[in-house]
Amino acid sequence: MADTVVELRSVTKRYGRNTVLDAVDLAIERGEFLTLLGPSGCGKTTILRLVAGFEAPTSGEVWLEGKDVTDLPPNRRQVNTVFQSYALFPHLSVYDNVAFGPQLAGARADDLDRKVREALAKVQLDEFAERRPNQLSGGQQQRVAIARAIVNRPSVLLLDEPLSALDYKLRKAMQIELKQLQRQLGITFVFVTHDQEEALSMSDRIVVLDAGRIQQIGPPRSIYETPANLFVAGFVGEINLLPAQVRDVGDDGLGIAIEGHSMRLPKATAIKTVPHAGDAVYVGVRPEDLRIWREVEVTDDLRPTLFPAVIDEVIYKGSTVDLQVRLRESGTRLSTTQFFNEDDPAITELDFASGERVYVSWVPGWEVVLPHD
């Protein structure tokens, strides 16, 4: 078994009648970058506060480094938090903010100075030691908050939407920096965010939460490519959901009726719960997995296997062109992302026009089959 740092054992948290976490079990491994992802109110911040010790679970246990810490106050847990608002002490200099933890731990003067300077150097704030927090930019305050936490060498660093107050460019830069810092320090990071892109690009594992329950745990790739249910599929990335009917379940795959077509989906298709014949399901396809065929590209043998469609909207995105299309038969709307392709002269220019009649397909096996919730 992997080396577990934090463990939630059947943790339930209620505020009055409102259940924020419902019997959550979660094991966080040493050294991993784990992201808690979900919409606001899903319980992700509550998990963080339970691990930090600011909240006590209504029932269940919180374990840290193999010890039950459910009743231990925050100051006696080897865990530090980077707060969403940074929560820097306004009456202390940057240096004293960072020195706060080591001082309380009783660090000796020379040792303290070395630790603080080291932590400030890690976040490139050596020159700002004597400033006050309100004399720093948002990004710099963010770095102080990180330095103040990592200087204590916690077993686990908890980050509560730390990048949400930063502008887009700075956020991107900090994402990379945080990831590097985590690798350098080898500290377990538990990162809370509602930004799925952030979660995908930074995490070793993602925990997708909704309504106080864990919907799926896994590496970013499996979360994106094989979502466990409709919620995860819809929350993480964009997805087109096509209603379909299962005809038969055979060794060679799944026979379905979809949009007036019959299709055979290969067995490789990631299916968490194997449907039975007659089940109504959704077939989910990511926008970038949909291929758009122009009229000139389609041969007569190819035509029956494609879904005829009409382009509603063409959205130029720089590196891609997003097309909103409508299936001609059912009127189902799909969004697709087309990449500029040097090798395919027909679509190199991607000069689609709205109202153009096209065909849609995807490579069987790239879809996910999801049961109705």
Binding site: P73, N75, T81, A87, L88, F89, H91, L104, R148
Partner: protein
């Protein structure tokens, strides 16, 4: 058209502002500045035999204040006011913290409890204290009844009684500014301190006290300054044994009829208070720039 309306409105508020500010200025001039100037003038005159004062310049009254006897009066006044301030702070700090952390809907009620005593004259409340703490009073009766003490406590007409009176009367003036400071406090800073390993004591000294310092100073001024001047509490509860500045000044005007000396004592107290307020506003300004995050 709209411009005309706007400018008319503007003129209107301008007129109102002038009247409102003018009234206040007039009031302060007539009832604060002029009397104070009179006191200063009187303090620089000589005592008269038949009139209250003789129109002759003299620094005699100030010289007399240097007498160790009066220095002792100043000292014990400051001491008692300081003790009362400290006790108020120790009582009010946890209370204000509790109110600031209480659910929003309870806070008005909790603050009302602090304000309710103001509905009764403080002189009446001071006499009520006598009934509580006198030798045959309710406090002694209760303590004796419970068998906690064998002999009644002699509190009334001691320094302790005066301090109790000060604390009782002045406590709300400590609670309210402390509450105002704590309500503004970002509680996440306390969480951050806890997260970084601070126990209750460290949270108090490293976060709560520094961040509520303006409230602590304001409350201390509001308790300390009036405590210096209140004479009836020393009279009623101290049995007039304890001579404080307030009593000294009153006696000079009403019984000793030495107006220049009373005025001089009064001027010295005013200057000391002004100095304290000056220090306070300086510290406010320093803290204000720091806290403007």
């Amino acid at each position: 058209m709209t411009d005309q309306v706007a400018s008319a409105l503007h003129d209107d508020t301008g007129g109102f502002r002038r009247v409102a500010i003018g009234t206040t200025w007039f009031w302060l001039l007539l009832f604060a500045l002029v009397p104070n100037l009179l006191v200063i003038v009187v303090s620089l005159l000589e005592r008269g035999e038949d009139q209250f004062v003789r129109l002759a310049f003299s620094l005699d009254s100030y010289a007399r204040l240097l007498d160790p006897l009066y220095a002792g009066v100043f000292w014990s006044s400051f001491r008692l006011a300081a003790i009362a301030t400290l006790i108020c702070l120790v009582i009010a700090f946890p209370f204000a913290l509790g109110v600031a952390r209480a659910p929003l809907r309870w806070r008005p009620a909790l603050l009302a409890l602090v304000v309710i005593p103001f509905w009764t004259s403080s002189l009446v409340r001071t006499y009520a204290l006598v009934i509580l703490i006198k030798t045959e009073g309710l406090l002694n009766a209760a303590l004796l009844g419970m068998g906690l003490i064998d002999e009644p406590l002699e509190i009334l007409y001691t320094e302790l009684a005066v301090v109790i009176g000060f604390v009782y009367t002045e406590l709300p003036f400590m609670v309210l500014p402390l509450y105002a400071a704590m309500e503004k406090l970002d509680w996440r800073l306390v969480e951050a301190a806890r997260d970084l390993g601070a126990g209750a004591w460290s949270v108090l000294w490293r976060v709560l006290v520094p961040l509520t310092l303006p409230g602590i100073i304001a409350g201390s001024m509001l308790v300390f300054l009036p405590a210096l001047g209140m004479f009836y509490i020393a009279d009623v509860l101290g049995g007039a044994k304890e001579l404080l500045i307030g009593n000294l000044i009153r006696d000079q005007f009403l019984s000793a009829r030495d107006w220049p000396f009373g005025a001089a004592a009064s001027v010295v107290v005013t200057v000391l208070m002004a100095a304290l307020i000056g220090i306070y506003s300086l510290s406010q300004r320093r803290f204000g720039t720091k806290g403007a995050a």
